[in-house]
Symmetry: C2
Subunit: 195 residues, 2 copies
């Protein structure tokens, strides 16, 4: 059931770093992105895959982790991602990427959940540094990073947003990660129902 | 298996219009979008849902169908979408929607496939007209439309792109829709594999 998979696919930021992810698994995930919709079928996305500890160590410091958690600077050694997929836009194909990276990325993250993995879309990327670390040519726009690993944190969806409209996630005293989601009737603006 | 679902989730543009879609089904689909990741968890997306023929008839002419098919002006009466979900960005929450509409939309389309439906992301929208037809307030940015219905066309993935790099989809003499997808090794730019 896709509903279960979507619910289980939380943005996860702490992992069991010892659980390795194979390159074959990463390729299977990228294949899900490849087969997803693309604006005008242009398919301008390209992917860099890393499950190598030394490359992971180059990617990790390029990431801004969980902006709302002021006392948490990101996952510690041992709980960092075991793999990364970097999504790029190939400007030799198009300068217009629309929301292709969202479409592809969601397929990838759902696939990761099905594999018993978890992950997180990361938009807060030091792109200059990442470009240098991975020798990414200027023709490729860095769209986002997907961090992947075996989840090592508990995440709970809070089905209400407080009266101030605060949507900031938080860690409780046990380290459980809470994520407020706006309720369904709040996100539905209008309905037109046939007779 | 998510891989089967992703493969089956083709951009479908001809439907059995007589197969109605209930408002309850549309709400289930939006709930998948609601529970998907959102940049900084801001959740600025709002949704307008229509399964009412009279409203569908207002939305339909706002859509540009399949730009590459010059001899095909869009689905005929009887093969038009039975429902639409309009994705909006609520500027009172944020002016930055990142690729949230792609993330949410992919969850919605995968859910539709699981329901035996099909659909299509539509970015080619006459936004001024749609805004007028549905009385969409200026505070909401029109992001995209998802058209939905019971598929009434055969779609085949072509696993090669021709030597000219042509990614245009086409209809063959039987009306089957062919979609060239770039092969996996072409979209993977670099791999870093641990020893």
């Amino acid at each position: 059931m896709i509903a279960d998979l979507v619910k289980k696919t939380r943005s996860c930021r702490r992992f069991n770093e010892n659980r390795k992810i194979t390159m074959d698994s990463l390729k299977q995930l990228v294949d899900l992105g490849r087969l997803s919709a693309s604006a005008a079928n242009r398919q301008p996305l390209k992917y860099i895959l890393s499950c190598a500890p030394e490359t992971n160590n180059k990617i990790f410091p390029c990431i801004g982790w969980a902006a709302y958690l002021k006392d948490w600077k990101g996952p510690e050694k041992g709980e960092r991602p075991a793999a990364y997929i970097v999504l790029l836009g190939d400007t030799t194909i198009s300068n217009e990427f629309w929301c292709d990276h969202g479409i592809s990325g969601q397929s990838i993250l759902l696939g990761a959940t099905e594999m018993g993995l978890g992950g997180c879309f990361i938009g807060a990327v030091n792109k200059d540094r990442l470009r240098k670390e991975l020798n990414i040519a200027p023709a490729f726009t860095i769209m986002l990073i997907i961090a992947l690993g075996e989840p090592a944190e508990k995440i709970i969806i809070e089905s209400t947003v407080d009266t101030n409209g605060n949507i900031r996630y938080w860690h409780d005293e046990n380290g459980t990660h809470h994520v407020p989601k706006r309720p369904l009737d709040e996100v539905i603006l209008d309905t037109y129902n046939g007779s």
